[in-house]
Symmetry: C2
DNA sequence: GCAGTTCACATACCGACGGTATGCGAGGGT
DNA sequence: ACCCTCGCATACCGTCGGTATGTGAACTGC
């Protein structure tokens, strides 16, 4: 029941069954990678540093993420995407009518994206590291889907004039991405102004 | 009046004065870098390949761009930004009234961004390589400025309700960036739909 | 038109980094 | 109690970005 790591110099002792330990190592790598990627960017951090701060070696990293640094980043990005999507969904579902849901979801997205940690990973390095196609696929499965659904509902009930929702959703998604990027590196005073501008933009969509 | 390059094996002969030759080398490096960065991305191309295809060595590259690969990319990105800004300005100035200028400029930007070469460099790798702050500064000096001026004019003449133009410009800029990204990797049929959605979004801004 | 200087490169070399092949030893099934 | 599994550790390699130094043609002043 004890996991004894094979180490040359000293002997590191770890606890738990093998699957527990595996999961713990994986989570540690994900957490360390996320922290480092967020603070210094994908290109600015090496795998040596990631494994060092995780208390493991490169062997462990490549065992869990066969694609190496890129695979680890992908996993981190997926986590971030899920987290943001969760926040957006929670904010939206707290509201009753479709219009309020849309505005709450958009505000939540901008607020979430304003987190610098989310930012650098999701909006800056994500497309560059994985390529825009793969990044888009991840986004599609996360927050973007909520946006499309909300817009569809609003078109269905006549709040927004009939039109294809897909291109509109892309435009709004891009607008909010940019808003989040701006907020992360400006005075917090701009948050109100940006949210207000977004709110006006959304209001303008109503017939 | 002849420039004789010092080479071990064979002897490459070049023509022109020293400043002419310098400028030619610089332009060649810029052109090669732009082509390679556009097709395979910043991380996907090495300096060895750039200088090989340029017919020079690393010494030349580091002589012209002391910051190395990053500096070359920055210079390429500035070129691309200038080019896009030029296209946008030309399209806008061809129109008479401010509203038509805005719409023409936006359409031109989306069309320009749809060029995959512009795309990868300006919208994907740009922020990741140089950092968002520096990227933003370049964009600010280029196409983004035209957008802000156009919006200011429309607010001044009452076409658009009075409001701070800066955050609105950022939202629209982000929307158009995303639109361009989408267009570059989708069927050309989507261009019409996206342009239509953007047009509707802009129309919605009018009081 | 010649001597000395400049400078636009070429060459050689280095450290760092991402990736891989292999070894090991504690779980865990039988 | 045995052996196989597998989650790592260790050692090693190729590549790549960057740098220090050399070189000779283009310029400068006399």
């Amino acid at each position: 029941m004890r996991y004894h790591r094979y180490v040359k110099g000293d002997t590191v002792t770890r606890t738990g069954t093998r699957t527990e330990q595996k999961e713990r190592t994986r989570r540690t790598l994900l957490a360390t990678g996320r922290r480092l990627f967020a603070t210094r960017g994908y290109a600015g951090v090496g795998v040596a540093e990631i494994v060092r701060e995780s208390g493991v070696t490169k062997g462990a990293l490549y065992h869990h993420f066969s694609g190496g640094k890129t695979d680890l980043f992908r996993a981190v990005l997926e986590d971030v995407h899920r987290e943001v999507a969760g926040r957006v969904a929670a904010a939206a579902e707290a509201e009753g009518d479709p219009w309020a849901r849309l505005k709450a979801g958009c505000a939540a997205f901008v607020a979430a994206g304003a987190d610098p940690e989310v930012q650098r990973i999701m909006l800056i390095d994500g497309p560059a590291v994985l390529g825009w196609n793969e990044w888009r696929a991840l986004d599609e499965a996360a927050a973007f889907q909520h946006l499309t659904e909300a817009l569809s509902a609003l078109v269905a009930d006549g709040t927004i004039p009939a039109q294809p929702v897909a291109p509109l959703a892309r435009l709004l998604s891009g607008a909010m991405n940019e808003a989040a990027l701006w907020l992360a590196q400006s005075a917090p005073a701009d948050l109100a102004g940006t949210q207000a501008a977004l709110s006006r933009l959304l209001d303008a969509l109503r017939a």
